[in-house]
Symmetry: C2
Subunit: 333 residues, 2 copies
């Protein structure tokens, strides 16, 4: 290629790039950016902890048990299974793109991923351990002692380091490059006609009022059952469980719709397994709108374009326990 042609090509590419960013800028949904400023050593340590069932009383349940990275960062169950097969009260939200959430848990009771990570470890219905016991286990494992020291430069492991490392790993779990993002970034043939019409319906019907931004949700708390009440047997009351205010009843964090094809079943009670049902219920209960079969199918087709690049890393190998490691008690009191 001669120099002049090269220059023109570069200029055109730059222009297209700007145009694409502007196009994306006009849309209520933004492309996911790759994770930035990750402390790689800390994230690598956090990945091991995320997969380590020794953070539970039983030695059987890890973060990955309920936020399974092979399955969209969820367990694909209505409610999760905890220590001694206890039934959880609420659907496990996906860990994918959770760094983009305004707060963590359905009721937003944790401000960020670091605060969230400590929750399940000490929850008697989930991992049923305690922070002290978890740290005690880690301190008995020479491989962890070395790695914590390397990452944090301290002589003792504490729960702050544990949750910071898990959160750092979780920050890497974004899923860029969905077909929808490719379209946002200028690849106009990335979506089919039906998918585009589905997106238009999604915008024009008002879904974007809550489901917008980089994560297509996750930025606000909204009432579940705005126009018509949501019928459920689940006891969870959303924000009200945190604030104890009546006005906050059934106010739940709007879930991300990224990878929603993978994160069934849907809603805080996990009561619905198909996107078709979920779209129908959202239309009627939140927008007072009954989508036709055809409209519903188009919105579902659009939603399936939000599946991005899934986590892509080597299965972590955990450092072995030592003779001093306190033993798990799956069947003990």
């Amino acid at each position: 290629m001669n120099t002049k042609l090269t220059r023109i090509t570069v200029a055109l590419t730059a222009l297209c790039g700007i145009a694409a960013v502007q196009a994306a800028g006009d849309e209520p949904i933004q492309p996911i950016k790759p994770p930035a400023n990750i402390n790689l050593g800390m994230a690598e340590l956090g990945k091991k902890l995320y997969f380590d069932p020794r953070l539970s009383k039983s030695g059987f349940i890890s973060c990955n048990s309920c936020h399974n990275l092979s399955m969209g960062g969820t367990d694909n169950l209505p409610t999760s299974i905890g220590d001694k097969w206890q039934q959880g009260p609420i659907n496990a939200p996906t860990v994918l793109n959770s760094s983009l959430n305004v707060a963590q848990f359905w009721d937003g009771r944790a401000a960020d991923l670091k605060e969230q990570a400590g929750g399940p470890i000490a929850n008697p219905g989930e991992m049923a351990f305690s922070h002290t016991l978890a740290v005690g286990v880690l301190e008995s494992i020479p491989g962890y002692v070395r790695e914590f020291k390397q990452v944090f430069g301290k002589d003792k492991i504490d729960i702050e380091q544990v949750t910071a490392a898990i959160a750092e790993f979780e920050k890497t779990l974004v899923t860029p490059n969905s077909r929808f993002d490719q379209w946002l970034l200028g690849k106009k043939d990335a979506l089919t006609k039906d998918e585009l019409e589905g997106y238009k319906l999604f915008k024009d019907s008002g879904c974007v009022a809550c489901h917008h931004g980089e994560a297509v949700g996750g930025t606000s708390f909204q009432k579940m059952g705005l126009v018509e009440p949501y019928k459920t047997t689940a006891a969870a009351q959303g924000r009200a469980d945190v604030t104890k205010k009546d006005a906050d009843r059934m106010m739940f964090k709007v879930p991300t719709l990224r990878n929603v094809e993978l994160t069934y079943p849907y809603f805080h009670d996990g009561a619905y397994w198909t996107l078709k049902e979920a779209v129908d219920i959202m239309g009627r209960l939140q927008l007072g709108k009954k989508f036709s079969e055809q409209e519903n199918a188009k919105i579902v087709a659009f939603l399936k374009t939000l599946t991005g690049d899934q986590p892509n890393f080597q299965l972590p190998i955990l450092p072995p326990s030592s003779d001093q490691t306190p033993r798990p008690t799956p069947f003990g009191k």
Copy 2:
């Protein structure tokens, strides 16, 4: 390097190679060979199935739950946790190097990995599903339907394909390149003096009578408690549970000692957590020999050199269920 020198170097290297193989040939333990003749497509499919909890009634338990590839191919529990938190009757043996076993399960009731793979899926105390239901789930998942067709060239999925794929993946789970294997292959500084003395004790005391070959075990059934009876509350009777013969009571498959540092707790009842205890008990009960503290420590040091390269692959991403997929019933009847 001039041509003559190159020729000499090549000749010397070849000679050393032969010498190393001969040295290894003289030893009762053989280096692990990398897996051969693997059908890569089938193994890749088997890897997904191995990690897929949808092969269980609850949608929560996969092969990897109890044979966790992050933890030496075991669950590091005395006995495993099955559907509804049922307590298993026996310690989960490692899946690592299990292709080298003469038969599968502690009592050898499955002839090979393919036959073994079908067991836990249909065992009411483990994954609590049935082969028919498992195949039904897989047939409802478009990603699996495509991949099975690609691998097996048939229109319908059946349990034979499922277990063949899992077994093919498991054949890849060998762990070559341990420090001990490096030593066997001629790297004379791969072991410390204590480790070498431990190996000599291991040979001279008779441990190699049962623990020999590529897997350092796995090739025969032997009586647990030969010189002195083994005290346990576990009901398992080993081969006798299969053959119903009194003579086969307490005859268990000799476990592999490869990666034994990672596969605690030890013995068929998982009653002992440290290699120190395991070596002491084996010495007394099987050989009528009480190892001194120092001897015990050296044998343990040797055993830790048997940890090889652990599984090294990307976390598999599972194809999503469809609207037609039968739903898991973790809390149902």
